[in-house]
């Protein structure tokens, strides 16, 4: 049976069919749906959200050593977090097979940087696969696990946004229930103390040689001979783009197994074609190795090493062909950046911050990062998960030392706090910071589309579990000044911030209110009540001062001609933030 699946859904299906038993991840675009889909195979696969990628990989390592086929998935920057266990696991090798999915984001659609994680395969000296569509994504999970077990190594599989989020046809198969391998205690393999690591280091070099032989033999790297004038070596989605442009007018060496490269096959192919192009997305990963092997080819001279690749770039740069396009004045099209939803609990928190002077706001990665959009403009920095807290600490120390009247306010969410905010806060406590740390707890992982986390009371596969109480954790770390507030109550928020900013010691504010898009659990209903409704503006009272518009709520619309504000019924949820800011009391909630 054939089905239209995204690359992410196909990876999940591949894991199911290949007999994976344990899988773990931390959500991150474009990788999130891999674990969400694996979770639906409850009963066959144990699927979990870990608080961060390092923990996800470490848990998967445990499962592999115990003897099961396992998978860990993450977005490209997540692999940076997980790099520590990865490099040593590359030494010890596996028991049950292990595939690690890195979802790279060429073009930076929804990330803080653009990195080519194929470099991690070379860096960690492990094999790497690169699917170019959903069918391959599914098939390669099985290949990866077989390679992993045969060569005793974790295998990296590099997806990219376009492979993750585009749908193509996939042929489905049954699950192959691979028997669990017995666990065998083996200190010479799994106990990476220096004496053991030195021996394993040598094994890795031997393994790489064997893997290169495999790379030359495997059907994952195949030649398609057509016209011999142009030869194309391509991997991942770049292969599809090349086929789109050259069709049968060129010959191809499709690389599905891209580390170690099949140098013999590449030499053979190069000798058969006149002009050789290497087409790959982001870094000249293959090209550099091919050139270093003394093979002449054209790559990054013509194909940009940054940004997302597409068929147009290839057609234009290699064939000099360009489509005719309609010319018009694009400058009149207004920007449409994503914004905090109408009724988002974060808005009340940031509305207060917009009123403050002499503060630096160090943010983190999550919906609250959207506070940089006008009219809130309430963010100074964002680097990576957990960094908001650590950076606030460092900056505050410097401001203090130079007697500057500056306060740093660090902002992260519940999921980010669990990810790595805890250790950053611990550092701040220990090193006597006096910055203000804010945890915006919206009871869910918001930005990636509502994943459960240690604070929500449910596991990924829907089982009720312990709810980690953030305030208790904060106190347990040694913080004494802690307040939990409702961010949509402006006076409560203001009080707490006044108190925090005037405090000489480290202070933590926890804002607690559910994301408006969250499906409320019974506990949420008990804790927060049924607050949803609708607000409206009384035309006779509104004077068009636009103070309400400054909250940045997308449901509020100002009409220039009428000089009045109105509220969009389809968006408003009745959070009442605007009700509180209107000086003329022109806004009320229906029924109140």
């Amino acid at each position: 049976m054939k089905e239209l699946l995204t690359g992410n859904e196909a990876v999940a299906r591949g894991a199911y069919e290949a007999g994976v038993v344990y899988a773990s991840a931390y959500p991150g675009t474009p990788s999130t749906e891999i674990m969400e889909t694996i979770a639906t195979y409850k009963g066959d696969i144990i699927a979990e959200w870990a608080p961060n990628e390092k923990v996800a990989l470490e848990s998967a390592i445990g499962a592999s050593i115990a003897g099961a086929r396992t998978l860990a998935s993450m977005k490209h920057v997540g692999l940076n977090v997980a790099a520590d266990p990865l490099f040593t696991f590359a030494y010890t090798g596996v028991n049950g097979g292990m595939v690690i999915i890195s979802a790279d984001d060429p073009g930076v659609h929804s990330s803080q940087n653009e990195q080519d994680n194929r470099n991690y395969a070379k860096f960690a000296k492990i094999p790497m696969l690169e699917p170019s569509d959903s069918q391959e994504a599914k098939d390669m999970v099985r290949y990866a696990l077989e390679i992993s077990e045969k060569y005793d190594t974790p295998v990296l599989m590099r997806m990219t946004t376009r492979v993750c989020h585009s749908k193509s046809l996939v042929e489905l198969a049954e699950r192959n229930n691979v028997p669990k391998k017995p666990y065998v205690k083996n200190l010479q393999k799994y106990d990476a103390v220096p004496a053991v690591a030195k021996i394993l280091r040598e094994k890795i070099e031997e393994r790489l040689k064997k893997l290169e032989d495999f790379s030359n033999e495997t059907e994952l790297n195949f030649i398609e001979m057509n016209d011999s004038k142009i030869g194309v070596i391509a991997s991942g989605v770049a292969y599809q783009y090349a086929k789109e442009v050259f069709k049968d007018g060129a010959s191809y060496l499709k690389i599905g197994f891209s580390y170690p490269l099949p140098m013999k096959k590449i030499k053979e192919f190069a000798s058969k074609v006149e002009t050789l192009y290497v087409i790959e997305e982001l870094d000249p990963f293959m090209e550099e190795q091919i050139k270093a092997a003394g093979i002449k080819c054209i790559g990054k001279e013509k194909i940009p090493a940054m940004g997302e690749l597409n068929p147009d770039i290839i057609a234009k740069n290699l064939l000099g062909k360009e489509n005719r396009v309609i010319e018009y004045d694009r400058s009149i099209v207004a920007k449409r950046p994503p914004v905090l939803c109408a009724g988002c609990p974060h808005r009340g928190f940031f509305y207060d911050l917009t009123k403050r002077k002499d503060i630096v706001i160090t943010s983190d990665i999550g919906c609250y990062g959207l506070s940089s959009q006008p009219p809130l403009n309430a963010k100074d920095t964002s680097i990576c998960m957990g960094a908001g807290f650590s950076m606030a600490h460092g900056a505050q120390k410097v401001f203090n030392k130079f007697n500057e009247k500056m306060k740093t306010v660090a902002v992260l969410g519940d999921s980010t706090f669990f990810h790595s905010g805890i250790t950053s806060l611990l550092n701040a406590v220990y090193n006597k910071s006096n910055a203000v740390f804010c945890i915006l707890d919206n009871r869910i992982t918001g930005m990636t589309g509502h994943q459960e986390n240690p604070g929500t009371g449910f596991t990924l596969q829907g089982d009720p579990t312990v709810i980690t109480d953030i305030e208790k954790v904060v106190r347990a770390l040694g913080v004494e000044n802690v307040r939990t507030v409702n961010p949509l109550e402006i006076s409560e928020m203001k009080d707490a911030m006044d108190w925090a900013l005037s405090n000489e010691e480290l202070t933590v504010i926890i804002t607690k209110w559910p994301c408006v898009l969250k499906k409320l659990s019974q506990k949420d209903k008990d804790d927060f009540g049924d607050y949803k409704g609708l607000c409206y503006v009384d035309d006779n009272k509104c004077i068009g001062c636009k103070i309400c518009i400054k909250t940045g709520c997308p449901a509020l619309k100002y009409d220039k001609k009428l000089n009045k504000v109105s509220i969009d019924k389809t968006q408003c949820v009745g959070c009442k933030l605007c009700v509180q800011v209107c000086p003329k009391k022109a806004i009320s909630k229906v029924g109140e």
Partner: protein
């Protein structure tokens, strides 16, 4: 391959472009085409600019199209049509919803909404204007706007004979099937 057709749908997060493309792709697959579909996820849940691309034919390689290569551009919001007009083939067709959603920068007074967006589209390309909001409201649910627009697309691409009923049944909750079939028909009639 020149038998491959390229469709671009664009709109604002929350308008249902993704569901419309899902029904479209499902139906094309059932009809035996090779199909690739690609969507750009915005960062937040709502309010950003959203596009999906659907390509179908005998054999489709790339999941994305480039500038100047869409056969049809369906815009769920007036200004978004202008944003992606450069993706259309000069001889292609625009279906634009007569519906405006100001963006956050417009609400904040930093930019102006291009009031003549639809006029510009008409001047630059073969354009069909549909008041999908009105049509959907007359069916009792303004949210079915997306399926009305899908209906217009189906007609203009000459895909009326495919089994849309079955595709809709596969993609939406049973309670909405009837409404969506009606919306699709009204959309076909509107062009």
């Amino acid at each position: 391959m020149c038998d491959v057709k390229n469709i671009l749908l664009c709109g604002v997060g929350g308008q249902g472009t993704i569901l419309a493309s899902k029904i479209l792709s499902t139906c094309l697959v059932d009809a035996g085409y090779d199909v690739k579909m690609s969507e750009i996820h915005g960062m937040a849940q709502r309010g950003g600019s959203v596009t999906t691309q659907v390509r179908y034919g005998k054999k489709v390689y790339s999941p994305i199209i480039g500038r100047g290569s869409a056969d049809i551009l369906v815009s769920f919001e007036a200004m978004e049509g202008l944003r992606y007009l450069d993706q259309l083939k000069p001889e292609g067709v625009v279906v634009v919803n007569d519906y405006k959603i100001p963006s956050s920068t417009i609400l904040a007074g930093l930019e102006e909404y291009p009031e003549d967006a639809i006029e510009i589209l008409k001047a630059k390309a073969k354009t069909k204007v549909i008041d999908a909001g009105e049509i959907a409201s007359s069916l009792g649910n303004p949210k079915a706007m997306n399926i009305v627009l899908l209906g217009s697309l189906v007609k203009l691409m000459g895909l009326e004979s495919l089994n849309w009923k079955s595709a809709i049944e596969k993609c939406v909750k049973p309670a909405f099937v009837e409404l969506n079939i009606k919306a699709l028909e009204e959309g076909m009639n509107a062009v």
